[in-house]
């Protein structure tokens, strides 16, 4: 096997991993706070992609500048979904939660189908054509910028959770909702904020990846499943785990594409998922017994 090819696979996998990390960070935040698995996660991401596409085609805004607007729109969507629907089923059994979130996913997917049609789209950005050569390996500038922005957003979220008042309330409600309620936290609002932020993360991830990855309304469910993979591998509810898991899964898939075949790259992540589920269900970075 050509070492240049492996190096290339490693690098592009690592850079693409930023997007995976951001998706997983959003999912793990929602799960960590509410213990609700967001089956609509991938469809929210698809909406982030289409919003970036609209900004680019209608207003000429580059997705690398417009991703903030997409994140803000998804924040509102996530907030509304939590306030309108999810808060009713926070304490419901698993299958009820899954069914509700699948329903939300189907509504989002088919709304996208009505609004944008079934054909795959891709956002044009001048950055996608740019490459930089590092010796024999080339660096895709779009992926590099995506990675940098995803990393910055994750760090900003970490800072927000660690240092700000609302961030601390979110963590308190995640640790012990009853305790948080007792000391005067409006847990309902905190939940809505957490769901909104989780949706904003995946919306930003969608906007950032829209020039690299073609998208269509039907792609949401597989993006959700990809997010689940990463979060389980990294450790459910762990921010560091989600970030590291994103990079790990992306590199593993990229190497799988090099060693097996591009169409078999997901085989690697699903096999990894099964191994983690069986031998370390708390994930690589999760605490045991959670």
């Amino acid at each position: 096997m050509d070492p240049t090819l492996i190096g290339q696979g490693l690098l592009s996998g690592l850079l693409f991993g930023g997007v995976y990390s951001l998706m997983a960070v959003g999912l793990t935040l929602i799960f960590g706070v509410m213990r609700v698995v967001n089956f609509a996660h991938g469809d929210m991401m698809v909406w982030g992609m289409y919003l970036a596409w609209m900004l680019s085609t209608r207003l000429g805004v580059d997705p690398y500048l417009g991703f903030g607007l997409c994140a803000a729109a998804l924040f509102l969507l996530g907030w509304a979904i939590q306030r309108g629907l999810v808060h009713r089923i926070v304490d419901a059994p698993h299958e009820m939660q899954i069914l509700l979130m699948l329903g939300v996913a189907l509504v989002l997917e088919n709304a996208a189908l009505v609004a944008f049609g079934p054909d795959p789209q891709r956002v044009r950005s001048p950055l996608t054509a740019a490459t930089v050569w590092l010796g024999p390996i080339f660096v895709d500038v779009a992926r590099l910028v995506t990675f940098g922005l995803a990393l910055a957003l994750t760090l900003a979220l970490w800072f927000f959770l660690a240092r700000t008042d609302l961030g601390q309330r979110i963590r308190a409600a995640a640790d012990n909702p009853y305790g948080a309620l007792v000391i005067g936290t409006d847990v309902g609002r905190v939940y809505a904020a957490a769901f909104g932020i989780g949706a904003a993360c995946v919306g930003a991830a969608g906007a950032l990846v829209s020039p690299i990855l073609p998208f269509q309304p039907a792609g949401g469910l597989s993006l959700s499943v990809a997010s689940f993979n990463i979060v389980i591998i990294g450790g459910m509810g762990s921010l560091v785990g989600a970030f590291a898991g994103g990079l790990l899964v992306s590199v593993a898939e990229s190497l799988g594409a090099v060693f097996l075949a591009p169409s078999m790259k997901e085989l690697v992540s699903f096999s990894l998922l099964i191994v983690i589920l069986l031998f370390r269900p708390a994930g690589l970075f999760g605490k045991r017994g959670t």
Binding site: V37, L85, R88, I89, A92, P93, H94, E95, M96, Q97, I98, L99, L100, L102, G103, V104, L106, V107, E109, N110, A111, L113, V114, G117, P118, L221, S222, V225, F228, N229, I232, A261, S263, M264, E266, L267, F270, S271, L273, I274, L277, L278, F279, P281
Partner: protein
């Protein structure tokens, strides 16, 4: 009880007589109602009664479908036998998934993901195996020969699908009243308590999984020989798994009639709504878009599904 038995007999007699008056298209709608009710009933054993949410049941449909189709194409084996071979292979896959999931104590969402992962691996392997058609899939030539599980008359498929649904429902109705059914429900309600009372929960969960995957695998043959084409993305895909799950949950998971009720509500919606909508893109989008709120209603309103109402 006697009243229920008479009502059931009347309903069956009515369904048996129905093709005489139905249009050919309406017969097709009923075939899908029965077939999805059958798959939902098979899922119901492990997902509804035992409470082990499998979101990868498409894998069993796919294994069953590919097995009988390949056996017929390469060895000339009639699908009437192939369907049982497919069922057994699906049961073997179900046993593997069940063994790993239950032995390693995966519950709730973790078990859901394990089943999804296995179904996706099956899909990717089928997609990349040229011997079973790869990404193009398998196409079955139409002969109309009943020995090949093919029928000139759509109404024969109607009766086959009806028989599948009734057989699975009868089986579930019998199991429900036996000790086996009681154990499964006890496992769903409180697995730890069940274990503490000395019930071998692993054994009963395994039995439920194997039976459920066997029945689902048999359904795969019907899928193959009714639709005449098998594509990895549709027959192993997550959307089919979701279709299998939503009917029993909306109708009432863990009840005998839940999957049938759910299928009578949801299956026709997907067929009828496209004809009511007005134009172009809406036509494709409408069924799911309008079905989705129905799923949500199922989750938010009656917690035990719609059959809780009666």
């Amino acid at each position: 009880m006697r009243g229920g038995g008479i009502a059931a007999l009347l309903a069956v007699a009515m369904l048996a007589a129905l093709p005489a008056v139905l249009s050919s298209y309406a017969v097709t709608v009923f075939i899908f109602i029965f077939f999805y009710a059958y798959l939902g009933q098979a899922w119901n054993i492990v997902g509804g009664y035992a409470g082990q949410l499998s979101a990868g049941h498409a894998a069993f449909v796919g294994v069953g479908a590919y097995t009988s189709a390949m056996l017929s194409m390469t060895l000339g084996l009639t699908p009437w036998i192939g369907m049982f071979v497919g069922g057994l292979l699906s049961a073997a896959l179900g046993a593997l998934i069940g063994f790993l999931g239950f032995r390693f104590g995966l519950r709730g969402f973790y078990f859901v993901l394990l089943t999804v992962a296995f179904a996706e691996i099956c899909r990717i392997v089928a997609l990349n195996t040229d011997a079973v058609g790869g990404a193009l899939g398998l196409y079955i030539g139409f002969t109309g020969n009943p020995r090949q599980f093919q029928f000139q008359d759509n109404r024969v498929y109607y009766y086959v699908a009806l028989a599948l649904m009734l057989a699975a429902t009868g089986l579930v109705a019998v199991l429900e009243r036996r000790r086996f059914g009681e154990y499964l429900r006890a496992i769903r309600e409180d697995e730890n308590a069940c274990e503490a009372l000395g019930v071998n929960t692993f054994k009963y969960k395994m039995l439920a999984m194997v039976l459920s995957s066997f029945l689902t695998g048999i359904g795969g043959t019907f899928y193959a020989y009714y639709l005449f084409s098998l594509q990895p993305n549709s027959v192993f895909g997550i959307p089919l798994s979701v279709e299998i799950i939503i009917r029993p949950i909306v109708g009432g998971a863990g009840t005998v009639l839940g999957p049938i009720l759910g299928s009578f509500i949801l299956s026709p919606l997907g067929e009828i709504l496209p004809h009511l909508s007005l134009a172009g893109r809406l036509e494709r989008a409408a069924p799911d878009r309008l079905r989705a709120p129905a799923h949500r209603g199922g989750a938010v309103l009656p917690p035990g599904g719609l059959s809780d109402f009666n």
